[in-house]
C-alpha cells in the first residue's frame, strides 16, 4: 500500500533502527516549558493573577518509543500536550523538533509544516469528530490539506488504506458512515486514522482510552502499540498508571504542574520514590491485591490538588505529603538521579544538589504498596 510505503520512508528518515543510537536524538523535545493562564478580573485595579498550569516541564520523545505522562486532572498534563501540538503557546521554554528549536509565534505556513510531523488524538471521541460529516470527509481533509492525495479516487483509496490500518473493516462499509453510527471505540479509531492521514512522526495521545469501555480500551492500546512499532514517537497521557506500565517505556509523573518523578516505567511503577507517586500507586485499583482479605488499602495521604492560582510555596505536594519537612515549604527540590534512569524532585532524596538535603537521605520512606 502506498500509505504504508511512504510512512515507512518517513519513519526511516526520522530514525535509525538501532535503539541505542536513536536514544541520542530526540525527535521532539520540550525544554522547561511553562504555561500561565491569566485570569481576567472584572476589577482593573486588582493585581493581575494567573493559573500556574505548567511549571518547568521537560520531556523528549524518540521514534519507536512511548513516553507516558501520568497525573490527576489539573496536574497540567493535557496543557503540556497542547503546547507540544502548538494549540497553546508556552509562556516560557523551548520546543525542539529534530534538534532544531521551533520558532514560536511564526506564521500559518510554519505551523502547518510543524503539524505535518506532530499530530494529536483527543480524549473524547464523541466530541472530537464533527457529527455533520462522514468518515470519508474526516479523512479526506487532512489528505488534501497536506497534499498526500489529489482527486476523488486517490483520496478514497488512501482513506480506505487508513481505515484498514486502524482495523476498521470492512473498510468500504465504514467510509460512508457518520459518527453517530459508530461506537466509542470505532470513533476513536477514526480519530486515530485522521491523525495518521497526515503521516506524522510524532503522535500525542491525550487520554485516548479513558472515555471507552474496559474491553475496548485494550484494542485501542494495542493499535497504538502497533503504530509505535511501525516507527511513531508517542506521548501517552493517562491517569491510569497501570496502563502506563503496560504501554510506555518511560513514565513521568506530574503533580500540580511540576514533574515530580520520571524514569523507566517498570522502575517508577514498581519502586516509586516520590511520595506522590506512592500515593497514586496505592490508590489505583489493583486486581492482584483483592481476593485475599478484600477491603481497600489505607492511603498514605489525603486531599486534592491545590489551587494553581496561589500554588503552595516550595514543593507543591507539601500540604498533603506525609513526610513533609520545613525545607519543603521553602524551595522546590532539584532533580536527584536515583540510578537506572530514574529521577525525582524530592528533598527526601537530597533535593538535587547533594548538600542541602543530604542529612535527610536516611529517612527514605518505604514504598507505599502494603503487599
Amino acid at each position: 500500500m502506498d500509505t504504508m510505503d511512504t510512512f515507512e520512508r518517513v519513519a526511516a528518515q526520522a530514525t535509525t533502527p538501532d535503539l541505542a543510537h536513536s536514544a541520542d536524538v530526540p525527535l521532539l523535545e520540550a525544554r522547561n516549558l511553562r504555561r500561565l493562564f491569566p485570569i481576567h478580573s472584572a476589577n482593573p485595579f486588582k493585581p493581575r493573577r494567573a493559573v500556574h498550569a505548567v511549571e518547568d516541564a521537560s520531556l523528549a520523545l524518540y521514534p519507536r518509543r512511548a513516553l507516558a505522562l501520568v497525573g490527576e486532572s489539573g496536574s497540567g498534563k493535557t496543557t503540556v500536550a497542547r503546547m507540544l501540538a502548538r494549540l497553546d503557546e508556552p509562556s516560557a521554554g523551548a520546543i525542539l523538533f529534530r534538534g532544531e528549536p521551533v520558532k514560536l509565534g511564526a506564521g500559518a505556513a510554519a505551523l502547518r509544516a510543524y503539524r505535518r510531523a506532530v499530530q494529536m488524538v483527543f480524549q473524547d471521541p464523541f466530541s472530537s469528530l464533527n457529527p455533520a460529516h462522514s468518515v470519508r470527509y474526516h479523512l479526506s481533509r487532512p489528505l488534501r490539506v497536506y497534499g498526500h492525495a489529489r482527486g476523488r479516487e486517490q483520496v478514497t483509496e488512501q482513506a480506505l488504506a487508513l481505515l484498514a490500518r486502524v482495523s476498521l473493516t470492512p473498510t468500504a462499509q465504514f467510509i460512508d458512515k457518520f459518527p453517530h453510527e459508530l461506537s466509542g471505540g470505532q470513533r476513536q479509531r477514526v480519530a486515530i486514522a485522521r491523525a495518521l492521514a497526515v503521516r506524522p512522526s510524532v503522535l500525542l495521545a491525550d487520554e485516548p482510552v479513558s472515555m471507552l469501555d474496559v474491553s475496548i480500551r485494550l484494542d485501542i492500546l494495542n493499535l497504538l502499540l502497533r503504530l509505535k512499532e511501525d516507527g511513531l514517537a508517542l506521548l501517552y497521557i493517562t491517569h491510569d498508571i497501570a496502563s502506563a506500565r503496560y504501554f510506555a517505556e518511560e513514565t513521568r509523573v506530574m503533580y500540580a504542574g511540576q514533574m515530580v518523578e520520571g524514569g523507566p516505567s517498570e522502575a517508577v511503577t514498581q519502586r516509586p520514590k516520590h511520595p506522590y507517586t506512592q500515593l497514586l500507586l496505592s490508590a489505583a485499583p489493583d486486581p492482584e491485591k483483592m481476593g485475599k482479605d478484600g477491603g481497600l488499602a489505607k492511603l498514605p495521604a489525603r486531599g486534592e490538588i491545590p489551587s494553581l492560582v496561589t500554588p503552595p510555596s516550595g514543593c507543591r505536594f507539601h500540604p498533603r505529603c506525609p513526610h513533609v519537612m520545613p525545607v519543603c515549604r521553602e524551595r522546590f527540590p532539584g532533580r536527584t538521579d536515583l540510578g537506572g534512569g530514574q529521577w525525582t524532585h524530592c528533598w527526601l532524596y537530597g533535593g538535587g544538589d547533594g548538600t542541602e538535603g543530604a542529612e535527610h537521605t536516611t529517612q527514605t520512606p518505604a514504598p507505599a504498596s502494603a503487599s
Binding site: 490527576e72 474496559v214 511503577t269 486486581p287 492482584e288
Partner: protein
C-alpha cells in the same frame, strides 16, 4: 435461583442480613419503531441488608436500565415488560413507619411483613418509598446537584419534603450531621456546587442520599468522573458508612477492577442478562463464564510480573436483534453447537454444592447435558490466547 444462597450465606463477608430486595425475572424493553430494544431480559437476584452488590458490564449491557427500573425512574419508551421487584423492609422499619407517620405511609393492604412489589406501588406509596427506603447517587454530581441552591438548602429540601414534622433548626442540625458523616466540614453547607471540587460534590450527593437513612442505595458509576486518589477516598467512605449504617448498595460500574476491591457479590451483565453471579472472592479467584474471564483479563496489572492482557475481540450485539442461543457466542472462543441454538440459564458453576460454593454461571460449558466436565481455568486462558494470536 436464590434458594441455595438463603441457606448457605457467605462466610468472611458482611452479608449476614435478611433479604431486602428480591428481583424476579425482570425484563425492560425500549419500544422503538425499528423494533423493541431488549435492554434487560429475565434478571433475577437478591440483595441482603448490608451487602454491596456490584453490577459490571460494558456500556449497553443494561446495567443502568436495571437500576432505574428498581427505582421506578424509567420513562417511556422504556417499559417493564415482566417481573417483580419485591422489597421486604425489616420489622422495625415497618413498625416505625406506621407509628411515626400515623399509618399515612403504611401499606394499603395492611399486611405488615409481606414484601412490597415496587413495580406496583401507587404514586403516593412511591413518593413515600423513594428516598425513604431507596436512594440513588448519580454518575455526574455536577448535573445531579442544583447549581442555584447551596448544598445545605438541597439537603434541607429533602428533609422538608419527607420529614415535615421536623423544625427548621432540627433540619439544619441533621444536614450538618450528614455532611460531617461524609467528610465535609459543616461550614461548607453554605457553599454552592460550583464552589466545591468534584470529589466534594460527589460526597454531597452521597450525603443527600443518606438524608433519610435508606435501606438501599443505588450508585450509578459514582466515581467515573473522579481521579484515582479521590475515587479511592469515596470508596473507603462508602465502605465505612456501610459498616456504620448497615444499608445495602447496588454499585454499577464498567470497571471490574473497582468491584474486585469493593463489592461483596458481583453480577456480570452481558446483553441484558446476568451471565455470572457470585461472591467477589470466587469470581476473582476463578471466573467461570468466558466473558467474565475476558473482562477480568482486559486490564493491565500494576504489581507483580507483567502478564499478557487479552481483551475480548468483537463488539456487543445489537439489542434489537440479539443472537439466538447464548448472546455471547459470536465473540466466544469456546462456542460449540448448542450455544447458537439453546439459551443458557444461570446454574451452579460446579456440580457438587459445598457450603462455600454458590457461584452461578449461564454457560453450556458448565451444563452436564452439553459438556461432560466443566472447563479448567487453563483451558479458558488457552482459548483466549489462541484468539489473540489470530
Amino acid at each position: 435461583m436464590m434458594d441455595s444462597r438463603e441457606t448457605t450465606g457467605i462466610t468472611g463477608t458482611a452479608i449476614t442480613g435478611d433479604i431486602l430486595l428480591n428481583v424476579r425475572h425482570l425484563s425492560v424493553d425500549y419500544q422503538a419503531d425499528a423494533g423493541d430494544v431488549h435492554a434487560v431480559t429475565d434478571v433475577s437476584f437478591a440483595l441482603r441488608r448490608g451487602e454491596i452488590l456490584g453490577l459490571a458490564g460494558e456500556s449497553g449491557s443494561g446495567k443502568s436500565t436495571l437500576a432505574y427500573a428498581l427505582a421506578r425512574l424509567l420513562r417511556p419508551p422504556a417499559v417493564v415488560t415482566a417481573g417483580q421487584v419485591l422489597y421486604s423492609p425489616g420489622v422495625e422499619r415497618q413498625a416505625a413507619r406506621t407509628s411515626v407517620h400515623g399509618g399515612r405511609r403504611g401499606r394499603a393492604d395492611g399486611l405488615d411483613n409481606a414484601p412490597l412489589d415496587i413495580l406496583r406501588l401507587t404514586p403516593a406509596q412511591l413518593r413515600a418509598f423513594r428516598w425513604n427506603d431507596l436512594a440513588i447517587v448519580f454518575q455526574s454530581a455536577m448535573n445531579a446537584l442544583n447549581p442555584v441552591m447551596t448544598i445545605g438548602a438541597q439537603i434541607v429540601d429533602v428533609l422538608a419534603a419527607h420529614r415535615p414534622e421536623l423544625s427548621r433548626g432540627q433540619r439544619y442540625d441533621r444536614a450538618a450531621e450528614l455532611v460531617r458523616l461524609v467528610g465535609i466540614a459543616p461550614d461548607r453547607l453554605i457553599s454552592y456546587p460550583h464552589e466545591l471540587s468534584g470529589g466534594m460534590r460527589q460526597r454531597a450527593t452521597i450525603a443527600i442520599a443518606l438524608a433519610l437513612s435508606p435501606d438501599i442505595i443505588i450508585m450509578d458509576e459514582p466515581t467515573t468522573a473522579l481521579d484515582v486518589v479521590v475515587q479511592h477516598e469515596i470508596l473507603t467512605e462508602i465502605l465505612r458508612l456501610r459498616a456504620e449504617l448497615r444499608f445495602a448498595v447496588i454499585f454499577i460500574t464498567h470497571d471490574l477492577s473497582l468491584l474486585l476491591e469493593l463489592a461483596d457479590t458481583i453480577a456480570i451483565m452481558y446483553a441484558g442478562r446476568i451471565v455470572e453471579y457470585g461472591a467477589r472472592r470466587e469470581l476473582a479467584g476463578q471466573p467461570r463464564h468466558p466473558y467474565s474471564y475476558g473482562l477480568l483479563h482486559s486490564f493491565p496489572n500494576l504489581r507483580g510480573p507483567r502478564r499478557t492482557v487479552l481483551g475480548i475481540p468483537g463488539a456487543p450485539p445489537d439489542l434489537r436483534d440479539v443472537p439466538p442461543g447464548c448472546s455471547f457466542h459470536p465473540r466466544c472462543p469456546f462456542a460449540f453447537a448448542p450455544c447458537s441454538t439453546t439459551l443458557p440459564l444461570l446454574r451452579p458453576a460446579t456440580t457438587q454444592t459445598s457450603a462455600e460454593e454458590h457461584q452461578q454461571v449461564a454457560c453450556h460449558l458448565y451444563d452436564p447435558a452439553f459438556a461432560p466436565a466443566p472447563p479448567a481455568e487453563e483451558l479458558l486462558a488457552a482459548g483466549y490466547a489462541a484468539l489473540v494470536r489470530e
